[in-house]
Subunit: 352 residues, 2 copies
DNA sequence: TTGTAGGCGTTATCAA
DNA sequence: TTGATAACGCCTACAA
């Protein structure tokens, strides 16, 4: 009744191969001391029984799960979908795996984190939302490292990997000024999120440094999503007599795309002729023909690699507390939504 | 020296709470026989030590991992990104979790599957590619159920959940005929994949039933991706004097979008005025303003639910072999890329 | 309701 | 190199 399931264990293989159980274990451990002869015999027996080492038991025995938890927010933002795929691919290639969590609407990040901790994963990657400092210290007690991806917090104990958001946004501000932008509109994302805040700040302060009066910079909330941005643009342009912006900075690409669709579809505006537009992230969608968005590309592959590095170093204790935060440089993608600037004011529009 | 890691176990909690270890276990098991008094004491102690039950150990003890492996292909196709998120959300809500695998370029599906089997997961969901029958029988021996999502195989032993691909494609064929389509172009996906094949077949046979000569139906390869479709359309229309199609059926939405972008951006064609277009999947992107694609929506939530149902029933042995394949009905989304049919002949609502 | 004893399948330790 | 034996942390009997 209990023995209904046909579980093949290392003991079965050992018996068939005429060796001891630990020898079976060694046969499956790269670089273990075992004669080729025995290893072959074991592997043959294993194959015959279609035996597969039980990763769960292994995890329990050596206190290493080879699992990394990745907590991801909205996968409708291609940046996160791409990032998740990058994590999966990279970990899979190194024999580890991703336990995926999501924080869809309302679900608490702490909740997901707690569950992840329960699996004694090797590390946790958080791509969104806020963590209670309670959980953070719990994870530290448990020796499970956490790294924020594309996020940061004031708490220096929390490692993070992110892009130079301020600098990137500043670059875009310069480009738009050069192209003749005078009245600006910012579409921000989650006001609580560090990423949106940093980009908005970077953009604003560069504008100020370039002599644009703060009164010429308006800000609306795009809720980090396509639909949010679309709607925000809709209601902003619907019956507003206010100064008409000639340059829009959406804090991420998905919102920039939503904005572009609204501007064109609802108001028949041309980009960049009537209004210029910039985004941030450099997702694939943004580079497509209908958009060719001017944006900053976040080097996802690099960021993922650095995130995993950081996790490992934190786990092995190589890392103390300095250098906890890695900041990578984004690359300006000169699309067609911001005309090439000719330093001189007045613009030119030369982009054959 | 080994004890450097501060692992809190149920024994520690038991000691602090003045109870036995199994009592701690019971305190964390909903519906176990334990007095409220003791449970409270245990939970208090647990909190004080920030103890978290070890899911790995639990899995080993009761031979149930509460983990479902999801093997996903290309996450650049929003259909799969959405599906993955749906799986994660739903499993997370029921206290289970997703171990995510990917089969990026060239990586073998069997490989991922093997690794999944090693974790003795409760079930495996496969959203793409082919499985060797070897692996399938291995998983059956191991008692780990596999369900194909949006795929099928000839092998009846393999359960699958999918949409009525033929019927959906047929509906689109009718709609396009009704709208005046005479020369057809099909953009297919992976010719090896059942999904693309079924849709192509459904489309073709309905056309034939409607009296369209096979010679009027052309087929090109869009490689299941935006870029593949874009390029295919590009080279098809570049210098082709062949009959100009007036109706295009892309086997999935992401390819339809690529096609639309190419038609408009490269050739200045209007949709549906110059050429009509239909897709399949009903992803969010396809419904957006620039596209408003006529397509068939696959009910992802329902499909996910049925997939998990199937997994559970297979695991508990409730399922023999009949009814292994669940087919759900897709919903026609009447977008703007196929003009409303002027009824006329063959305009019946239901499918005979 | 509670505690004791044994098992889940592996890796780690230490002799041989 | 190999084998016996003890963890790993929990759950499921079974007995009290």
């Amino acid at each position: 009744m209990k023995r209904t399931r046909n579980r093949v264990t290392s003991y079965d293989v050992a018996r068939l191969a005429g060796v001891s159980q630990p020898t079976v274990s060694r046969a499956f451990t790269p670089g273990a001391s075992i004669t080729k002869d025995k290893r072959d015999r074991v592997l043959a027996a294993a194959k015959q029984l279609s035996y597969l080492p039980n990763s769960i038991a292994r995890s329990l025995a050596n206190a290493r799960s080879n699992i990394v938890a990745v907590i991801v927010g909205d996968m409708h933002n291609p940046f996160y979908a791409e990032s998740l795929q990058a994590f999966i691919t990279r970990l899979q290639d190194s024999g580890r795996h991703v336990l995926a969590f999501t924080i869809s609407d309302g679900r608490d990040c702490d909740d997901a984190l707690m569950q992840a901790l329960g699996y004694h994963v090797d590390g946790i990657v958080v791509t969104s939302a806020h963590l209670s400092s309670d959980l953070i210290s719990t994870s530290q007690d448990a020796g499970i490292p956490i790294v924020l991806f594309n996020r940061r917090t004031a708490d220096p104990a929390l490692a993070s990997v992110r892009c130079e958001n301020e600098a990137g946004a500043a670059t875009l501000a310069r480009a738009m000024c050069n192209a003749g932008g005078r009245e600006f509109l910012i579409i921000r994302g989650d006001p609580q999120g560090s990423t949106s805040r940093d980009r908005v700040n970077g953009f604003r302060s560069e504008l100020e440094a370039l002599g644009v009066a703060p009164g010429r910079v308006e800000e609306i909330d795009g809720q980090s999503s396509y639909a949010g941005s679309y709607d925000a643009v809709l209601s902003r342009f619907k019956d507003k007599v206010r100064p008409f912006p000639d340059a829009i900075f959406a804090v991420n690409d998905i919102m920039a795309i939503g904005c572009a669709d609204a501007l064109r579809g609802e108001f028949g505006l041309a980009i960049p002729d009537d209004i210029m537009l910039a985004g941030f992230d450099g997702v694939r969608e943004a580079t497509r023909a209908p958009y060719e968005l001017t944006t900053i590309r976040q080097p996802i592959e690099v960021m993922v690699e650095k995130t995993l590095d950081l996790l490992e170093r934190k786990q092995s204790g190589t890392l103390e507390d300095a250098g906890n935060s890695l900041v990578v440089t984004g690359e300006l993608i000169a699309g067609k939504t911001v005309p090439a600037g000719t330093a001189a004011p007045g613009g030119d529009g030369d982009r054959s």
